[in-house]
Subunit: 222 residues, 2 copies
DNA sequence: CCGGCGCTCAACCTTTCGGTTGACGTTCGG
DNA sequence: CCGAACGTCAACCGAAAGGTTGAGCGCCGG
């Protein structure tokens, strides 16, 4: 936080990691307007972001603005984990379009210092960067609410195994195929499904997929 | 196309319609660099875009850069239809993140002059704007390929009714609930499903949803 | 004008799924 | 140390979904 000298307003060095040129240009335009921000690098891939974030000394990065969805290759969450694993690592602020449970938890577990949505107004963005640079956590209100909901209703949380089954169900596999995929008996798969239905308040596999998708427990693409 | 005077490089007036302030700033930064572009307005909602695109005379808009996904309220495709329905309407260039069949077809049917993906490089963006302003169509390569695929395999295209059924299946409804929803008998619903399975090459409702989603025939959110 | 396609429905059968009950071992925290 | 939660499996039954055959209607285009 105090890599740069200067008394009242230490400069915050930023790295922008997003695969969309337009978004990078937008972030640059928005954040360059802040006098205490300095954008020292951009990265169009998660791999490039990991590399760029490793710079030390006077070229070091204070805060990384990290998208989660890159095209092919490494995912933003993996890049976040790689960056924060190092010592004296910069803070990583995740900036993405979606606010699903899966994404948020993955980012938080990867060591993200904050989670913002791309529809955030510029002021909120700048405030979050300063919050992250100061070592505190920055969560968008919508994200914070979702985390609170999750805390409040722990019974509804699907277990690891149940999520695994549900993902295969979402991919269109039958119980028999799932049992082979996970080296289980069909009875076990059905048992998991019954528990899933109870937790989600539904009574069929398709409804479970719909409910889990709308609640952000699972994602469609990966 | 010749609203503005000037011989060699007539100015192209642009309207940016996107609900993300960062994206608007990025588009502005990228497009303001082009000497023959002038951004005359921005809109954060689809409704505002329809209104702003209605300006006539010297304040008129030549090309609208339209996002498809706005938060609540009107959809970008609906706004595109509303804008292009008028006489002497500006060209609408759809600029979105996804390249699903459903989105592309909706945009083309709404009268869009082009379809670009947000990960396009700035040069491609500027070129598409000029193409659209000149009255021609501008399709991103990925989008064009998808349309070609669709032309090549017309047998796989789901009918209107089949898509309607499939959407309800995706929402987790049983055949009985679907039949009531659409005022059909269960026999008809099953008949549609059999045809859907054949066209998609699957053999269950969940697999049909998975296949249709991955091919972009249906979308998760709306 | 007729063939094809989409939409509708019925009857029947097989397979899968949904739901229950009951059971056993493990792991973790009070 | 023991209950709670998770994960595993079996047997069973009714309900739903998958699959087939067959058939009637309306519309569009060759």
């Amino acid at each position: 936080m105090t890599r740069a000298p200067g008394a009242g307003a230490p400069t915050i060095r930023l790295l922008l990691a997003d695969d969309h040129p337009v978004v990078r240009a937008g972030l640059r335009a928005v954040l360059d307007a802040e006098p205490d921000f300095e954008i020292v690098a951009e990265a169009a891939t998660a791999e490039a972001a990991v590399e760029a974030a490793a710079a030390q000394g006077p070229e070091g990065v204070d805060v990384v603005l990290m998208d989660l969805q890159f095209g092919p290759g490494m995912h933003g969450a993996a890049a976040t984990a790689a960056i924060t694993a190092r010592e004296d690592a910069p803070r990583v602020l995740v900036l993405t379009t979606y606010d699903t449970d899966a994404d948020i938890l993955a980012a938080v577990e990867a060591g993200a210092a904050g989670y913002l949505l791309k529809d955030a107004p510029p002021e909120e963005l700048a405030a979050a960067v300063r919050t992250a640079a100061s070592g505190r956590s920055a969560l968008a209100p919508a994200v914070a609410n979702r985390l609170m909901d999750r805390m409040r209703t722990p019974g509804e949380a699907l277990s690891r195994r149940e999520l695994e089954v549900l993902r295969l169900v979402k991919d269109g596999l039958s119980n028999q195929r799932i049992s082979k995929e996970l080296f289980l008996s069909q009875a076990t798969v059905k048992s998991h499904l019954v528990h899933i239905y109870a937790k989600l308040g539904v009574d069929s596999r398709t409804a479970a997929v719909a409910a889990a998708t709308s609640r952000g427990l699972i994602r469609d693409r990966p």
